[in-house]
Each structure stands twice: as structure tokens, then as C-alpha cells.
Amino acid sequence: MWPLTERSTNLAVGLSITIVVLFVSALLIVVIGGSAPSLISNPGLYFNSVWNPDAQSYGVGALLFGTTAVTVIALCIAVPIGIITAIGVSEYTRGVVRVVLKSVLELLAGVPSIIYGLIGVVFLGEWIKYAFSLSSGSTIFTAGILVGVMVLPGIISLTDDALQSVPKQYRDSAKGLGMYRFEILLRVVFPMAKNTIISSILLVLGRALGETMAVMLVVGGLDVIPDNWLNVFHSGQTLTSKIGRELAEASFGSPHFEALMVLALLLMVITVCITAVGSYFMKPQRGRYE
């Protein structure tokens, strides 16, 4: 039969693989090639904190600050809540309750970024404005909370997998020694699941750094580093929101466009490194201790 020969099969597989390889190479070449030459020849243009295309200044300082602040706030919210929720799902429930609870929590993962943005603009921003008596609800803090909620399901499901990968015998033996549930968790389950939990935090960190639409709608769009670094009730800008906001207005080939490519390169290097390290340590865990 025609499609089933060795040769045509090899051809089909080879063709698909070539398409994927070409796409990935093009992605790397375009992002690196579009930014590296100007970054190397004129680094002073980018390593400052004033972003003003009209004055030919494209400092990334304020954007890096915004990205870091938003991500730190997001993780401070998502990591503790996510890990404790995962403990609840994995260790305190079983059977039907567990399946239902897990499915309900996974619903959160499907909500598109833009809908979080809409909720952020209409509700969260307004609440924060009134709660802290601010002139505007579009702040770094708002964006941080929103991203925290967005990455929460990721932490929950990855941590749950990590906890589930610790075999039941260990829990039973610990229980047989007279340990309480919290002691089993802290002294037996957690040490064994530690590496996977850390790598899941890294994977989620990569997601948080790259979040665009929701952040763009609520972060405020002000390219400054506040005098007091801890003042997060202040409008800011992140790498992603900057690209999202200005890509449409920068003409291809202009210094402005090149500067946006530099932002893209920075963002890609950071997220890809974090994701790669996180994925690398995310070894298949099941059966490892048996």
C-alpha cells in the first residue's frame, strides 16, 4: 500500500521534524540576530533606566525592576498557597473527593490570560485603589497579585505530582513509628519530594516572567523605578508589557524596534534558562524509591 512503505514513512517523519527544527532555529536566529548586533556595538544605549524613544534612550532598568517586582509578589502569593493546597489535595483527601477537588482546581489553569486581565481591570484594580486609597489601581502590586493567581494552578498540580511520587510505604512506616501527620510530611515526604517541588517552582517562575496580556492591562505603564524600591503601590512596566504596548507602533528596522528585540532577547534568555534548569531536574519520579 502506498503510504505504508518504509520510505514514505521516513519521509513523512523527516519532513515534520525538519519543519519543527526550522521553526526553532528561525526563532533563535531572529531573536538573537535582531538584537545582539546593536546590543554588542552599543551596550550603553540599553544599560540605564530611562526609556524614552523620542530621546533615543532605551534603558531596560525600570523594566527589569518592574518584571522582578511583579514576579516576586506573584511567587510570594502563589508558592505558599499553592504548596499548602497541594498538600491538602495529596495528603488529606483521597478517592472521589480528591479527583473532584483536583478537577475543580484545574479549571483555574484553563482561564485565559486576557480574562484575568479583564477581571484585574474591572475588579482587582478598583479594590486595590479603594483599599489603599491610591489615585490609580494600576500598580505593580495589582499585577503581582493577578500573576500570583494565574500561576497558582501550576504550582498546585506540579507539587501534587511531586508529593504523589513518594511511595505510600514510607508514609505507612512513619505512621507505624508513631509520627503525626505533620511530622510525616515535614520529615519524610517533603525531603523526598524537595527537588521536584523546587523545579516546579522554577517552571512556574518562567511562566510568571513571561505573562503578558493580564500584566499589560493592570500594571500601569510607567517606566520608572520608584525612589523607595519597596513601594509597590506604584505604576510600573515589565519587559512583556513594554513589548506588548509598543510593538505595534515601532516600525520594523528602526532603533525603537531593535530596542524591543533587545527586551525580547533578555526575556527569552531569562525564561529559557529558568525553564530549562527546572525541566532538567524534573526527572520522572515514580518508582525512584522502590
Binding site: 526563532l27 484553563g110 482561564v111 527569552m268
Partner: protein, 282 residues
């Protein structure tokens, strides 16, 4: 404090936190339904939008989103199957497998806005394709490729060894093994992964904002090279004029329609996963 008290307290903290997370889910879904349900009716999903979305319905946005999802699905299945088969059957050495795995992880870690800026430079400016939904399909399918290939790879490597041994005993070539054993057995994993990927694709905004979508004036595309309107870009445009109550009402309506698509897809993926786990026990 005695250990017993700590145990009870920690149980309480866990219970409260799980309740908080569950409340968050119901709160978010509730907000979307509560705000959106008032504006969704038959004319909303069957009429074209007017005045940049501030009036009228969302039929072209709905059609655009569904077209993108359908196109992405059609393109992703053969690509992901090939990657999975190449990974499990053709790649013999550990370093090659490592490279494939690492490439997929990297692709998975690239933020969607980077796909957007890349596609704008490569397809729209360098290749001169213009803003077209065909580019959107390519970008979205590359974004979900890691998820789908990984699901396919895991299913294919989980096929019991007896199947391969039987195929070998019958004198199957590698091609026959692929077409008659691996693809029929592995397709379910690919489809499950695909639906999960499509949930992500249908809500995707940043990656296709500059290359495949138009805010207004886009109708049903007559060729792959025309832009489409999509639900997420529509919501974005409306959210930016949040002071206009009618526009906001339409934004919530669009959000509810988008969320419904997401829920239906997630439900299908859930059923597939249940059936699959049943079958692998047998």
C-alpha cells in the same frame, strides 16, 4: 505546644488554604458567568460587531477563534505524532533523545509575546506574508507542540512490549509497526494532549496579536492570508475602553463565550483521560 495541638492546627491551616483556593476558582468562574450571562443571547453570537465592539454581537470573533483552533489542531496532530515517533523509534542514542527533550522544554518555556515578536519579524516582515490567520495557525501549533508531543511520546513508550514482540513475530517492518501499532495505540495520547493544548491556544492573545488578528473589520477569511478577529483580541480592545459600560458588558459576554469553549474542551479532555486510564489498566 504539644505535638497533638500542632497536628490539629496544621490540619486546620491546610483545610483553610484548600478552601481559599477552591473559593478562588468559584469566585473567578462566578464573576465571569455573573457578569457575562446578561449579554449572551442568540443575537449576540449571531450578529456582527458594530462601533468597534461597543455594540452588536461577536459572530466574526467566534468564527475566527474557532477557525484558529481548528487549523491549529489539524496542523499539530501530524507534527506532534512525527516528533513523538521520531523520539521513541528513530532516535536511538541517549544524546539525541536529550536534544529532542531539551528542544521541547525550551520551546515550552518561550513566553508567548516572544512568539509574537518573532512571527512579526519573520513571517510578516522578512517573508512578507502579511497579517494572516495562516501565520496564527503556525505560531499556535508550535506553541502547543511540546505539550502534544510529550503526551504522544508517553503513550507510545507505554505501549506494552507484547505489542512490539507480536509485530516483530509477524515480520513487520518499522513502517508497518508505526502505521498499524504505534499510531492506533498512541493517537489517544496525542488527542488528549492536543485538547489541553487547544485550551491554551484558544485563549492566546499576545502571540497572535500582531500577526494574525485584526481588531475590527475582519469578517470570514476567504484565504489563509487574511486576518481574522478573535475573542481574546476583542476582549482586549473592549477592556481598554472599560469606562464605556456597553463595551464592558460586551467584553464580559465575550469572556463568557470564550470560557464556555475552554470548559467544553477541558471536559472533553477529562473524559478522554478517564477512558484512557481505564484502558491501560486492562
Amino acid at each position: 505546644m504539644s505535638r497533638r495541638v500542632i497536628n490539629a492546627l496544621s490540619g486546620g491551616v491546610v483545610f483553610l488554604t484548600v478552601s481559599l483556593s477552591a473559593l478562588l476558582v468559584f469566585g473567578i468562574v462566578g464573576v465571569i458567568v455573573f457578569n457575562g450571562v446578561g449579554s449572551v443571547n442568540f443575537s449576540f453570537i449571531s450578529e456582527a460587531s458594530q462601533q468597534f465592539g461597543a455594540a452588536g454581537g461577536i459572530v466574526y470573533q467566534l468564527v475566527g477563534s474557532l477557525l484558529l483552533v481548528a487549523g491549529t489542531g489539524l496542523l499539530t496532530v501530524p507534527l506532534a505524532l512525527s516528533v513523538a515517533i521520531f523520539w521513541s523509534e528513530y532516535a536511538r542514542s541517549i544524546p539525541v533523545k536529550r536534544v529532542i527533550q531539551m528542544t521541547l522544554y525550551v520551546l515550552n518555556g518561550v513566553p508567548s509575546i516572544i512568539f509574537g515578536i518573532f512571527a512579526l519579524v519573520f513571517f510578516v516582515n522578512l517573508l512578507g506574508v502579511g497579517i494572516s490567520w495562516g501565520v496564527g495557525v503556525i505560531v499556535l501549533s508550535m506553541m502547543i507542540l511540546p505539550t502534544v508531543s510529550l503526551a504522544g511520546y508517553q503513550t507510545i513508550t507505554a505501549i506494552p512490549i507484547q505489542y512490539r514482540e507480536s509485530a516483530q513475530a509477524l515480520g513487520f517492518s518499522r513502517a508497518l509497526l508505526i502505521w498499524h501499532v504505534l499510531i492506533p495505540q498512541g493517537i489517544q495520547g496525542v488527542i488528549t494532549g492536543l485538547i489541553i493544548g487547544l485550551v491554551r491556544a484558544v485563549g492566546e492573545t499576545a502571540s497572535i496579536l500582531f500577526v494574525a488578528t485584526a481588531f475590527s473589520g475582519a469578517g470570514i477569511p476567504l484565504s489563509l492570508r487574511e486576518p481574522v478577529a478573535t475573542l481574546p483580541t476583542h476582549i482586549l480592545a473592549l477592556a481598554q475602553q472599560a469606562t464605556n459600560p456597553v463595551a464592558l458588558q460586551n467584553a464580559w459576554g465575550s469572556a463568557l463565550v470564550l470560557m464556555t469553549i475552554v470548559l467544553v474542551l477541558s471536559g472533553i479532555a477529562f473524559i478522554f483521560r478517564l477512558q484512557f486510564s481505564k484502558r491501560s489498566v486492562v
